[in-house]
Symmetry: C2
Subunit: 181 residues, 2 copies
């Protein structure tokens, strides 16, 4: 059956602002789902495939950052096939990993540790590709042409950016572990 295992609503009073307290199962529909969809939309806008974005967002909003195919399928009202495809992509780009719960034939898809970290590293890759293409183009155009100048500067910028980005990530690690972990 499809009863959402592991999604026991946690009750929390004393919540911030105007949270009256109770968390009902309907909360998913009224509160979580809108967020998931909005976030997915943002990601899509930013270039990620739609379904992958939805799955990713859904995991992000789930209690323990992990859901089974069936759960995703239900929450997103999407076919298992669609989930399968999205999940394959996300695993490919290292945003999630798939885990086989021993004793059960269902699989759990869970957010990679430090997802955002990974995501930024990924961005780093596309920067690298752009940089390489420009570097090659520089060879074709000749570094002495006006266009070549511009390209050269761009290449420099990208290299600079990549170095800096790496350091930013290092700094984040420091920042992070410095406060609670």
């Amino acid at each position: 059956m499809t009863e959402a295992a592991g999604h026991t609503p946690h009750h929390h009073e004393g919540a911030p602002a105007e949270d009256t307290g109770e968390r009902t199962p309907q909360d998913y529909e009224t509160r979580v789902s809108p967020f998931v969809e909005q976030f997915a939309a943002d990601l899509t806008e930013a270039g990620m495939q739609r379904m992958a974005a939805r799955v990713f967002a859904c995991l992000l909003a789930s209690d323990d950052g992990a859901l089974t195919s069936a759960e995703l399928s239900e929450r997103l009202r999407a076919s298992p096939a669609a989930v399968s495809g999205a999940v394959r992509y996300l695993a490919q780009v290292n945003l999630i990993s798939r885990r086989r719960d021993p004793g059960s034939r269902r699989e759990r898809y869970l957010l990679h540790q430090e997802v955002w970290f990974t995501a930024v590293a990924g961005r780093d890759n596309v920067l690298g590709r752009l940089r390489n293409t420009m570097h090659t183009g520089l060879g074709e155009l000749g570094p002495d042409t006006p266009a070549g100048q511009r390209l050269g500067e761009a290449v420099e910028f990208f290299e600079f950016l990549q170095r800096e980005l790496d350091q930013v990530l290092v700094r984040w690690r420091a920042h992070r572990s410095g406060r609670s972990r």
Copy 2:
């Protein structure tokens, strides 16, 4: 975000080939165009609309970073309509500006100063949007829930990233002017 993670060493591949000197008109076809298309493909892969990417790449590879609609249309073998749309988009996101040469009815589209700078700032915008959506979601989910925890951390990461990114850009400015300008 779209591509995978992992840390590809930022290797500079093959040095630019020998530049024999002459530049013929056919050079555009044989040398420039392939670069333009490849670069556009990279940008498309990274999420930019195809035609916009082509126009942008074309401008980047042009001698003075500026071309008329007709020139773009010819070099890209695309209809004026397509160019028009692409150009509108690029202006929208502040990557190019349009200039009306007084006395001529044609318009010139030129790369914005410090394009890459702008581009990164733009990326910053999408980061901001994601951050905001997450922040809102945090309100809905409650910061005391497991998902809320995760979200909160993500928001922090994004804020950190944005601050750092700003500084990186400042540093680039310094770096840049420190060497020649």
